[in-house]
């Protein structure tokens, strides 16, 4: 079973990578189509009922990308089943299992939203996050260790983490939507969106390579540099003139992205609340104390507060749109840092665990 689960994992990784290639092709041909359309060039192009470009090649890339994505999701589901059988509990007991499950959550959330909103392009950014989680999982030990006493609570372990996966998956989608949203705003917002993403990536990579400080410095510099480059390019190429309401470059309209981001948080927010409560419940049963201000616990509460802020921001004049999208980015940053908390807090805060 362990072997089977491993094969399923590797297959999922490969299929996701292929799907990603197709999504990139989909995005590029969509972009070209959008360009040609704005240029008023109707060369051999059909226009659909809604004024959307229906270029056969674009649609085909997208469709096959989706199908491969479904396949990857199926492989990960198989992994979940095999691993559960092999370990005898939900496969959520170590970083490897949790990371693959995270990837599963992202793909699941993505396809859920693709089905309701028909915005394939989200996959262009959602798949890389899922793939990164799988690649990360592939680099860390994956043997099945028996459970330490504190983890020996199958029901709470499984439910607590399963619920977290749903929250994290949703927040990933919210992040992707926010990034695409910001991308279609003013140059400064576009610069922020991309700079933030790059620095988040640098920070996480730095932490994983246990070079937190280097990672931090690189993150700040890379974020600023990328932001500056995007900003500078914007001025020169005249990208600044894109229409902020209409959906540019073949991307979904900002209003749609805003709604997707909101819907994703609407799912993620109660699930994160449930994750925290179940964690507290477990802490009470295992250690006699529902809340210890342990860094990971604190970080998840902070994440939750940020999303609460987002939910409020969306109904306050002046905080809708870009500011809300920026809160979504920060929220996902907090999610990721919470997830990799061991790397961040371990160095600074040696938590004296009980027992």
């Amino acid at each position: 079973m362990e072997k089977m689960s491993y094969y399923a994992f590797v297959s999922a990784m490969l299929v996701t990578a292929f799907a990603l290639v197709l999504y990139v092709a989909y995005a590029i041909s969509g972009l070209r189509a959008a360009r040609m359309q704005t240029a008023g060039n109707g060369l051999g192009m059909r226009t659909g009922t809604l004024g959307l470009v229906v270029e056969p090649r674009t649609a085909t890339f997208g469709r096959y990308g989706s199908i491969l994505g479904w396949l990857a999701f199926a492989f990960l589901s198989a992994w979940l089943v095999f691993r559960t059988i092999a370990t005898g509990h939900g496969p959520f007991a170590n970083m490897y299992e949790f990371s693959v499950a995270f990837a599963w959550g992202i793909l699941g959330a993505y396809y859920w939203f693709e089905r309701s909103y028909h915005q394939r392009i989200l996959g262009l950014l959602a798949l890389p996050i899922a793939l990164a989680m799988m690649l990360y999982a592939a680099t860390i030990p994956n043997q099945i260790d028996p459970l330490l006493p504190a983890l020996q609570n199958n029901l709470l372990l499984t439910v607590h983490v399963a619920v977290a996966i749903v929250a994290y998956g949703s927040f990933s989608i919210a992040f992707v939507a926010a990034l695409l949203f910001l991308f279609q705003q003013r140059p400064i917002e576009r610069a922020f969106g991309l700079g933030f993403t790059v620095s988040l990536l640098a920070l996480v990579v730095g932490a994983i390579l246990s070079a937190l400080l280097v990672g931090f410095v690189v993150a700040v510099i890379a974020g600023l540099v990328v932001g500056a480059i995007v900003y500078a390019l914007d001025g020169r190429r005249g990208l600044a003139t894109i229409d902020t309401s209409g959906g540019s470059w073949g991307l979904p309209r900002p209003a749609v992205l805003d709604e997707i981001g909101y819907k994703a948080v609407v799912v993620g927010f109660p699930f994160l609340a449930a994750t925290i409560v179940l964690g507290a419940l477990w802490a009470e049963v295992a250690w006699g104390r529902y809340w210890n201000w342990d860094p990971k616990e604190t970080a998840s509460l902070v994440t939750w507060l940020i999303y609460a802020t987002y939910l409020h921001a969306r109904v306050i004049r002046g905080w809708t749109g870009s500011r809300a999208a920026i809160l979504l980015q920060i929220g996902f940053g907090a999610t990721i840092l919470t997830y990799f908390g061991n790397y961040f807090f371990g160095g600074l805060h040696s938590y004296a665990g009980l027992g």
Binding site: P146, G288, W293, V302, R317, F345
Partner: protein, 504 residues
């Protein structure tokens, strides 16, 4: 709806209507005279109380407060925090600060004076939490009446401006008898699970809504946060906790703060996986006595605490213990019990425990071997140190062999055998139940609020004497996929039901 102009805000919303539901009510729909008059009284009577109230109920400010708490949380997660108990003990605090000084250098004292080594007990955090609590209560007090009115006494007739400008709107040409058309309209709305109320003022006005109670879910979700915080408060005020309740195997110890309760440890077992050597189980077999009578018996494990009344006992740590017997010169047994070696010496890390002897001015400390290679206390031995209880002055220091009675300070000491002790956390937290109730309400409340947004819809049917007329339909709210689809479906059905034969 009739009351919403009173504050210039939507019922129960702490924000201005334009931002919240952009198309809910256009200015035209609000009687200008009323709005003006109320605006005037508001600014005239605006005193300190109103200013505070406005601040407390301002969502903008609550956003700042939540972000502030998030920032403190980040600091608390990143900066090492003083362990519980150390803060209150000045000398321990100094030692602890000295320990972190190498890492923080000159920042140590600054961080300390800003209370950032104890973020979650700091004045900042407490202040924000207090503010949040008051603000939550104020917001919901302000919000509840409006929600109630919206649910029970909705405004049925709205101005033409609304039908002309609402984000989702449509107009259907109808033909036929007004009463009959009204019945059909109502039937379609009911089929779409709407509640329908209508009013006749020459034209027939309809108000229809779904999930009118669901907004209370969000209200309950907010108040649940107050319930949770109340639970935390109750725990802090009336709870009790001892994280270092230690019992040696075979011994019975009085439960701290547990009137008349005592706990006996039959045995402690720590087991390990043969494959990895990692711990697999810690199990303390315990019997609980109340005034000498057995009231509970359980093997306590890490995920399986013993609960009795309001008290709970949790497996927390364990370590070595020794069974000691001490007899006086006359042969009377002064002491015979297990002694937990629950501390460690600072210099070499030996396990160490202590006990006193009734009627003797002696305090005894016993120290365990460090294992093979230890010359001072060989394996199989235990080191006995005696002190004058009254003055603390040392008397003797002798390593004794297991099972051999040895005379020290005029008493016979026997190290009977090695044992283990178990370390339990004892807790009584009457606030926990509030925390759980609050948590359930929070999740349930927000989930309901999110899943069933209150949908409202107004329609107006005007039929001219010649039997031809219009049915205007509009729904407020921001543009959204779901609302859009639902509205389109509804209008399609309405059109099929009421459009006259020739019009369709």
């Amino acid at each position: 709806m009739t009351n919403q102009t009173r504050t210039g805000r939507l019922p129960g919303l702490a924000i201005d209507p334009a931002a919240f539901e952009p198309a809910d009510f256009e200015p035209a729909a609000i009687e200008p005279a009323v709005a003006e008059e109320l605006g005037a009284t508001r600014s005239a009577s605006r005193g300190i109380f109103e200013a505070v109230w406005d601040l407390l109920t301002s969502m903008r400010f609550s956003l700042v407060v939540t972000l502030g708490m998030a920032v403190l949380g980040v600091l608390g997660a990143l900066i090492i925090q003083v362990p519980a108990g150390v803060e209150a003990d000045a000398s321990a605090k100094l030692d602890w600060l000295a320990g972190v000084r190498p890492r923080f250098g000159g920042w140590t004292d600054i961080l300390d004076s800003l209370q950032l080594f104890n973020v979650f007990n700091s004045i900042w955090f407490r202040g924000l939490t207090a503010f949040l609590t008051i603000s939550l209560i104020a917001c919901m007090v302000q919000r509840a009446p409006g929600l109630w009115r919206t649910a029970t006494k909705p405004r049925i007739t709205v101005g033409d401006g609304f039908f002309a400008h609402a984000r989702e709107r449509d107009s259907i040409v109808v033909r036929g008898d007004a009463a009959d058309l009204a019945t059909r309209t109502t039937a379609v709305l009911r089929r779409h699970h709407y509640r329908v109320v209508s009013e006749d003022d020459g034209a027939i006005n309809f108000y229809a809504d779904r999930f009118r109670w669901a907004p209370f879910g969000s209200l309950i979700g907010h108040l649940a946060i107050v319930v949770i915080l109340a639970g935390v408060m109750v725990g802090a005020l009336y709870g009790f906790r001892d994280n270092s309740f230690v019992i040696a195997e075979g011994s019975t110890a009085a439960v701290p703060s547990g009137d008349g309760l005592s706990l006996k440890l039959i045995s402690f077992e720590d087991s390990y996986y043969t494959t990895t050597g990692a711990p697999s189980d810690y199990a303390s077999e315990l019997i609980l006595f109340e005034n000498g009578r057995e009231v509970a018996r359980q093997t306590v494990r890490v995920n399986d605490p013993l609960r009795y009344g309001q008290l709970s006992f949790f497996q927390s740590f364990y370590g070595p213990a020794a069974r000691m017997t001490v007899t006086g010169t006359d042969g009377s047994v002064l002491f015979s019990d297990g002694v937990a070696l629950a501390w460690e010496t600072q210099d070499d890390g030996r396990s160490i425990g202590t006990f006193t002897l009734p009627g003797q001015d002696v305090t005894v400390w016993i120290l365990a071997t460090l294992g093979p290679g230890d010359t001072q206390v060989k394996p199989g031995q235990i080191l006995v140190e005696t002190y004058r209880a009254s003055t603390g002055e040392p008397i003797d220091q002798v390593s004794i062999d297991q099972g051999v009675a040895t005379t020290i300070s005029g008493l016979d000491f026997t190290f009977d055998r090695e044992l283990q002790f178990t370390g339990l956390s004892v807790a009584r937290d009457p606030g926990t139940i509030l925390v759980w109730i609050g948590s359930i309400l929070l999740i349930a409340g927000f989930t309901i609020g999110f899943s069933f947004p209150h949908r409202r819809l107004w329609a107006r049917l005007v039929v001219r004497p010649n039997g031809i007329g219009t049915l205007a339909v509009a729904t407020p709210g921001r543009a959204s996929h779901d609302v859009d689809r639902a509205f389109t479906n509804l209008v399609t059905d309405l059109r099929a039901a009421v459009a006259g034969p020739s019009a369709s």
